[in-house]
Amino acid sequence: MEILDGIVKAFQLIISGDPRIFEITLRSLFISSAATLFAVLWGIPIALFLGTRNFRGKLFVKGFFNTMIGIPTVGLGLILFLIFSKAGPLGLLRLLYTPAAIIIGEAILIMPIIISFATTAIESVDPEIINLAKTLGASDDQASFAVLKEAINGILTAGIASYNRAIAELGIALMVGGNITGWTEVLTTTISNETAKGNLELSIALAIILLALVFGITLITLAVGTLRRRRK
């Protein structure tokens, strides 16, 4: 009964437009978006390099990023905590317990997903596409862009998987964000914290929002992908 009651109250909370819920949701969206953006900006050039060049040790590098996909968030959170803490190497930057710290941590967390997925997508593009673009007059950058365009479906999947991982992870946000009310609270940390405090209504409300976001984003991507394919 208590659970059912909690769910009903949770919906009431969401519908009432509680400002704290709104704020936490927005912050979560902002932080995971920023983290995904940074991971894409860094990860895609690396994936392009890995996907189009052959060099000694390439298998090792790819293996490294593949392994990194499964890194435990708490483990990475702890390492970043030590780096960002006052006595740590980047302590001077005073990043600990700021949204920036969460963004950096989540970007590092999801970069291997972007790199691994995007590399596979780029490797499956016909290698002659680069020569084709060049013989039609493209510069090196334009030719690389042509390759990315061919791999766009795989890259989009990588982006969505990364975004979902970022918004749903707890360890990093908790360790380097600290769940400070009005400052670094995000969906996952608040759910964890409020549940511990026995405030089930808020936890359930936030969990519903989190799940709806993850499902919603995935569904939209699937729909867009299907539409693109159908158009062809």
Partner: protein, 353 residues
């Protein structure tokens, strides 16, 4: 100066294996030059060097009167474009494919639309603009690739085996386009081919290439007119055989091409000759039948290549013959690998080259 590009002492290796060995070649403005040679002779590498997609290990490339340096490569690529043997398409519409090079050149949208339409008309693909390029048939795809290069109106157009994987209908369309573009737009064309027949009819000049070396350059009449030593050694060329010819009492010529296979031809010649039979001129049957064809051989199907509407078969009758039949005939006859078949062709279908 009447040449558009010149290769001087070009050498190229891949992982230590020689692809081109000290190649010298001039390409004249406005000509169609065929690079004729078997697979793996270095034709594609030579084209890629002319397209500035590969850098020679040694030697110089001159283009439009000046020596090409690393700095110029991007600019030079604007003037020389290549159509690859294996059709590569962008995963977008026909329009998107053909417009690519024009967009790179930052042409106004209206002009791009105009030029794309004109190029598609040239390759007989009007109204294909909105179609997804990768969903077209093989022949249509190759024509899209051709339109994508033609639309750029470059000084040099490089074609790598433009008809090798096409059925005869598409192949003849492509050959017609090549001739038209050269005649009307005065585009200089260099095309790689291993098709003896194509080399004889389309180009103004032929360069024979084997093992990364150019052995002879001349007009088709010069190359085919005298018995070229290189030509005779092109064992890899389809239905081209070399042997001793002797004139029979009937006035025809019998050419012994080895392995107990003798070909009869109406052309008269004696001594060492090369002969060619077009794959389309050979009739295939499952049983021996009485006909006017002077050449009838029994053999076995050793290779089947499906080209869409037609099928190419390799039949071993002691020497390998390539035969082309329609897909329908192929299906109706119920042919398969190792099937025993008879080949027949008229003495007048055999050309001495």
């Amino acid at each position: 100066m009447n040449w558009i590009a010149e290769l001087k002492d070009i050498t190229k290796t891949f992982n230590g294996i020689s692809a081109l060995d000290n190649v010298n070649l001039q390409i004249r403005k406005g000509e169609i030059l065929a690079l004729l040679g078997p697979n793996g002779s270095g034709k594609t590498t030579l084209l890629k060097i002319l397209a500035f997609l590969e850098k020679p290990l040694k030697g110089q490339v001159y283009f439009d009167g000046r020596k090409v340096t690393d700095k110029d490569v991007k600019q030079m690529r604007m003037e020389s474009t290549m159509v690859f043997q294996k059709t590569v398409l962008f995963d977008t519409t026909v329009y998107g494919n053909v417009a690519y090079g024009l967009k790179v050149r930052k042409l106004p949208k209206k002009m791009i639309a105009q030029e794309v339409r004109r190029a598609l008309k040239l390759v007989k693909l009007e109204d294909f603009e909105k179609r997804q390029a990768k969903k077209l048939s093989g022949g249509e795809q190759q024509r899209v690739a051709l339109a994508r290069a033609l639309v750029l109106n470059t000084k040099l157009l490089l074609l790598d085996e433009p008809t090798a994987d096409l059925d005869p209908k598409n192949a003849s369309i492509v050959e017609e386009i090549i001739a038209t573009v050269n005649r009307e737009l005065k585009t200089t064309i260099v095309m790689a081919t291993h098709n003896m027949f194509q080399a004889k009819n389309l180009p103004h000049r032929i360069a024979l290439i084997t093992n990364g070396k150019i052995s002879e350059v001349g007009t088709p009449a010069e190359i085919f007119g005298r018995l070229s030593k290189t030509l005779a050694s092109f064992a890899a060329l389809e239905n081209t055989f070399t042997g001793d010819a002797k004139i029979t009492l009937n006035g025809t010529t019998l050419v012994d091409i080895g392995n107990d296979v003798e070909i009869e031809t109406t052309a008269q010649s004696q001594g060492k000759v090369s002969v060619f039979v077009s794959p389309e001129d050979i009739i295939l049957s499952k049983t021996s039948f009485a006909s006017s064809a002077r050449n009838v051989f029994k053999g076995k199907i050793v290779e089947i290549l499906d080209l869409g509407s037609v099928v190419r078969l390799k039949v071993d009758v002691g020497r390998p013959f390539t035969v082309q039949i329609t897909k329908r005939s192929f299906n109706e006859m119920g042919l398969n690998l190792n099937a025993e078949v008879f080949l027949a062709f008229k003495a007048s279908s055999v050309q001495i080259i």
